[in-house]
């Protein structure tokens, strides 16, 4: 072998090497072209998309929560307002070890077991990336102490927050209601209704009472701040700002002083009171006793207080005025009498001889009058004044259930009154159709008898009784009861009054109205069942007492108040309006286990009228009731 083939070999090798090098270089070039295509795609075709994403990264929209509107009584006294306080807040997503952080914080700021518990509860319910308060209402010393140690606590900060406060918490609890922290269910509802964007940054929502029903007015419009932030979420600078619009202020018909009079007059009794301006339906006082401190609910009520309230035999959380349903008892009699007159079943002079009981033809069952032995001769006037049962047993049978149902419907019984807070119940105005539906039974005449004195199936809420009484005072025109008299726009200051709404108008003969009214006036005069209520009053009160049985009394047995356990005693009822000739206030009062209407509920009504009509505050209203209570023991 010479050099020749070796040389050829060498050149061939070099040729193949260069070929391979070219392949390698081409592949490299090809891969770079793929990259270039990718960059062209990202930077030209998808540029706008990524531009937006970069802006979203960079600019975060920080919601500015609007001030919640105030709730004021008719004289401008705040029932719900806001105050600023500093809270210590933790963003759990930014804290590595929550327990340790809280323990470290507690060295600087007092953190009670209750605070920890509440925080844990909030943590369970919270949305991600939310900041949660571990302590509210920090004092100056605590703020200073934390500020000096802030560097040690990433994800913990002090924030100035507006807090809702109810200065009249317990007295107005069932009217004003309260707000509570937003939970998942609320968020879902907000998303469905499309209101969610306006609740960004908001932590609270109305849960009960006016806070709930006027949520959309009270909440206001959330403002926004465009803030440039870095990846750590720290704000670098503000780019633009859209200020929030505060919620509207609500001014009520309710008179806080009157409400306080009612509260005091009730003393330790449980019960409900609703006072209405007959001409408009404006609610002047609305009380459900006992109430509760609504402030407890604002930041999530702790378990201990919740159990205390929820398990109390006094049931302070129940809104008795609209949720409690009671037999209206004798308070129904003026309406029955009016029905008798209007439907020509009774004349003023027609009377019965009351033996103390009523029997249906062909039956031996005795429907007893409250007075053993009866009242003797009883006409329409006397039947109201002394509250004769026998008169109304007969009248009810003669009217028949259909007429009773039709007539009483016009006064609002058996249906919601339409008041502007939620949770109202309908009560029960029985009818043939109702009984068929409910029990699959036809109506018996015997059922009608007890309806005549507001017993049997008949149930009404204290609110319904107040509306019916106001309708009577307003000569048959039923006004829808409402609490909010005007809504004030917080920004413009403009006031939108809320117009009274007429629900139905029943033309009633003036002379019939006068007959019933005169009888009701005599109820509060000597000889009437509520004579003590009006004694010495410089104005006339038209009223009617009532008693609602809590436990049934057996045939032939006598109800003796002192022998019955306190909670089984009858509920006392009283409906009234004043001044009788030109009524400006109508009310219904229910005193649970209060016994007889005239003696316990009557004085409460008197205290209300004295204040509302004369501006007179009761000297010792609470004492007077205590004295009355003494009679029961």
């Amino acid at each position: 072998m010479t050099r020749r083939p070796e040389l050829r070999n060498h050149q061939r090798d070099l040729y193949y090497f260069r070929l391979r090098l070219t392949v390698g270089g081409s592949i490299a070039l090809f891969l770079f072209l793929i990259l270039l295509a990718r960059f062209v795609y990202l930077q030209i075709f998808q540029h706008e998309h990524y531009q937006t994403l970069a802006e979203q990264n960079r600019i975060s929209i920080v919601p500015i929560v609007p001030n919640r509107g105030l709730i004021l009584d008719r004289n401008g006294v705040p029932l719900a307002h806001n105050y600023t306080a500093f809270t210590l807040e933790i963003t759990p997503s930014k804290v590595a070890n929550l327990e340790q952080t809280i323990t470290d914080l507690s060295a600087l700021v007092e953190i009670s077991a209750k605070d920890r518990k509440r925080f844990k509860k909030l943590l369970d319910e919270s949305r991600n990336f939310e900041t949660l308060p571990i302590r509210t209402r920090l004092n100056d010393v605590e703020i200073a102490r934390f500020a000096a140690n802030r560097y040690r606590f990433a994800g913990v900060e002090i924030k100035a927050r507006l807090f809702r406060h109810y200065p009249q918490g317990e007295i107005t609890s069932h009217v004003v209601g309260y707000i509570g922290r937003l939970n998942d269910a609320d968020l879902q509802k907000l998303e469905e209704s499309g209101d969610f964007p306006n609740y960004r940054g908001t932590n609270y929502i109305g849960r009960a009472g006016l806070e709930q029903s006027y949520e959309s007015e009270l909440h206001g419009t959330t403002g926004f701040e465009e803030v440039e932030t870095d990846a750590g979420g720290r704000a670098v600078r503000t780019l633009s700002r859209t200020p929030p619009t505060s919620g509207d202020n609500l001014t009520l018909h309710l008179d806080l002083k009157l409400q306080q009079v009612a509260e005091q007059a009730f003393g330790d009794f449980r019960g409900a009171l609703v006072a209405i301006e007959p001409k408009t339906g404006g609610v002047l006082a609305y009380l459900s006793k006992p109430g509760f401190d609504t402030n407890l609910f604002v930041d999530g009520i702790d378990t201990q207080n919740w159990e205390l309230l929820n398990n109390s035999p006094d049931k302070p959380l129940v809104n008795r005025a609209m949720h409690g349903q009671y037999p209206p008892g004798s308070t129904i009699k003026p309406f029955m009498a009016l029905a008798g007159l209007e439907l020509n079943k009774r004349t003023p002079s027609f009377g019965i001889n009351d033996p103390g009981f009523f029997t249906l033809p062909g039956s031996s069952h005795r429907y007893r009058d409250w007075k053993v032995g009866g009242h003797g001769f009883v006409d329409l006037h006397k039947s109201i004044v002394i509250s004769c049962d026998t008169y109304y047993y007969g009248l009810a049978v003669e009217l028949g259930i259909d007429n009773i149902f039709g007539f009483l419907s016009h006064f609002g019984f058996g249906k919601k009154t339409g008041i502007d807070i939620e949770g109202e119940r309908t009560g029960l105005l029985p009818s043939q159709a109702w009984k068929m539906k409910r029990f699959k039974q036809k109506w018996f005449v015997g059922d009608t008898v007890s309806v005549g004195i507001g017993q049997g199936y008949f149930l009404a809420t204290p609110l319904q009784l107040a509306v019916a009484t106001a309708t009577l005072a307003n000569q048959g025109a039923q006004m829808q009861p409402y609490l909010v008299r005007q809504i004030q726009n917080a920004k413009s200051g403009g006031v939108t009054p809320i117009a009274p709404q007429t629900v139905s108008t029943l033309p009633i003969k003036a002379e019939n109205l006068e007959l019933v009214r005169n009888a009701m006036i005599d109820v509060t005069r000597p000889g009437g069942t509520a004579s003590r209520a009006a004694a010495g009053a410089p104005y006339a009160i038209a009223g009617k007492t009532g008693t609602a049985q809590v436990v049934a009394i057996k045939q032939g047995e006598k109800y003796v108040e002192s022998r019955v356990a306190e909670r089984h005693r009858d509920h006392a009822l009283f409906v009234a309006y004043a001044p009788a000739e030109n009524p400006t206030i109508a009310l219904a009062i229910l005193v649970e286990n209060g016994g007889h209407g005239g003696s316990t509920a009557g004085p409460i009504a008197r205290a209300m009228f004295d204040y509302y009509l004369l501006g007179k505050l009761p000297a010792r209203a609470a004492g007077a009731v205590e004295e009355e209570e003494g009679e029961h023991d």
């Binding site: 193949y16 390698g24 891969l31 990259l35 960059f39 930077q43 994403l53 870095d230």
Partner: protein, 364 residues
């Protein structure tokens, strides 16, 4: 006298390569200044690394290739021993055993292997040049896979793959049969499911993230999402130097090291990227030119491998940042902050220059 010193200085420097490298390095310093939030100290520290790396490059350029051949196998054996040391006594950092504490400093032997493996393989083929057989490729493959397995075990899959690539380029340029290459490709595809089952969770996660970064936007997908946003929002002309919002508001992670390319793309746009791609291609082209004119088997193979590996580094980093390759810890060559990779990279270019300038002096 000065003239002689100057000549001595530039005698073994490839002017074209030095110009392209210098342009890239200066561009890199400008980007680093922005990426490190105008931290001059960091730029200065990178500048110092650069000077060291350039000195190493100059030194290597002055070493004739035949001297390099002599250190090939000792470097390889030393590297292998160090890898063994790492496997037995290595320090664990970030869940991987990569570092070896040798008293004065902590070293990362896999970095050494990036150069030692192609050197060794090129040396081996040079020795077998006259009578090359298929069995020689098998031996070369074993020489390649031995260190790669150690490195993959650390685990450092990215480096292992890149060393495999640099070794494969040597085999390819040495004339590995096309059929064998095809066969390797097919068996790699067949082996993929097995490899998947052998991978660590975080490695699988990276592959899954590549396929759908949105599935874990705050976790493993975060890097890719933020870097594509940075690139895309840069547009054609970019947001301007020091004005990248993704970079300066800290949305972009590892922005001065592995993800520095996203800063470039955001601030200088497609034009900036085209500039860098052009510089890279010029360097690669020059490397290939030097390779094609290299006189010996050894110089051809080592120069070719260094050039193609450089291109691979650039491609893998840019592919990862733009979201078409999984996230592996590969720096952007000549740009990313970091002394070690800079030295390794310029050391390679020193060898290229040596090959380029010693060509005529080698007798054959």
């Amino acid at each position: 006298m000065i003239r002689r010193l100057w000549l001595l200085l530039i005698r073994h420097i490839d002017g074209f390569l030095l110009a392209a490298l210098s342009a890239t390095l200066l561009f890199g310093l400008a980007i680093l200044y922005s990426a490190s939030a105008q931290d001059l100290d960091r730029v200065l520290s990178q500048g110092v690394s650069l000077l060291v790396a350039l000195a190493v490059m100059w030194a290597l350029a002055n070493v004739p290739p035949q001297h390099l051949m002599r250190i090939a196998w000792p470097a390889y054996v030393l590297g292998l021993l160090l890898l063994l040391g790492v496997a037995l006594f290595g320090d664990i950092s970030h869940g991987a055993r990569r570092w070896l504490d040798i008293g004065v400093a902590r070293i990362q032997p896999s970095e050494l292997m990036k150069i030692a493996v192609p050197l060794m393989l090129a040396w081996y083929f040079e020795k077998r040049e006259r009578s090359m057989r298929l069995s020689d490729f098998a031996v070369a493959a074993i020489l390649l896979l031995l260190p790669v397995l150690f490195i993959a075990k650390q685990p450092d899959l990215g480096t292992a793959l890149l060393i495999t690539a640099s070794g494969f380029y040597v085999l390819f340029l040495a004339g590995l049969g096309w059929k064998v290459i095809l066969g390797l490709g097919l068996s790699a595809a067949a082996f993929a499911p097995v490899a998947w089952s052998l991978m660590h969770d975080y490695q699988r996660q990276r592959v899954m993230t590549l396929l759908d970064p949105a599935q874990d936007p705050l976790g493993s997908g975060y890097h890719i999402i933020q870097s594509t946003i940075a690139l895309g929002s840069g547009g054609i002309f970019g947001k301007g130097w020091l004005k990248g919002t993704q970079a300066h508001l800290e949305f972009l992670p590892e922005r001065h090291t592995d993800f520095i390319f996203a800063v470039l793309g955001e601030e200088f746009g497609l034009f900036g990227i085209l500039l860098l791609l052009t510089l890279y291609l010029l360097i690669i082209a020059r490397g290939l030119y030097i390779t094609s004119r290299a006189a010996t088997m050894f110089t051809r193979l080592i120069a070719g491998s260094i050039t193609l590996t450089f291109g691979t580094y650039a491609f893998v980093n840019m592919g990862m940042v733009s979201g078409i390759l999984p996230v592996v810890g590969v720096p952007l060559p000549l740009i990313s902050f970091g002394g070690t990779s800079m030295v390794t990279m310029l050391l390679g270019f020193g060898i290229l220059m040596s090959v380029s300038t010693h060509r005529r002096l080698v007798k054959h």
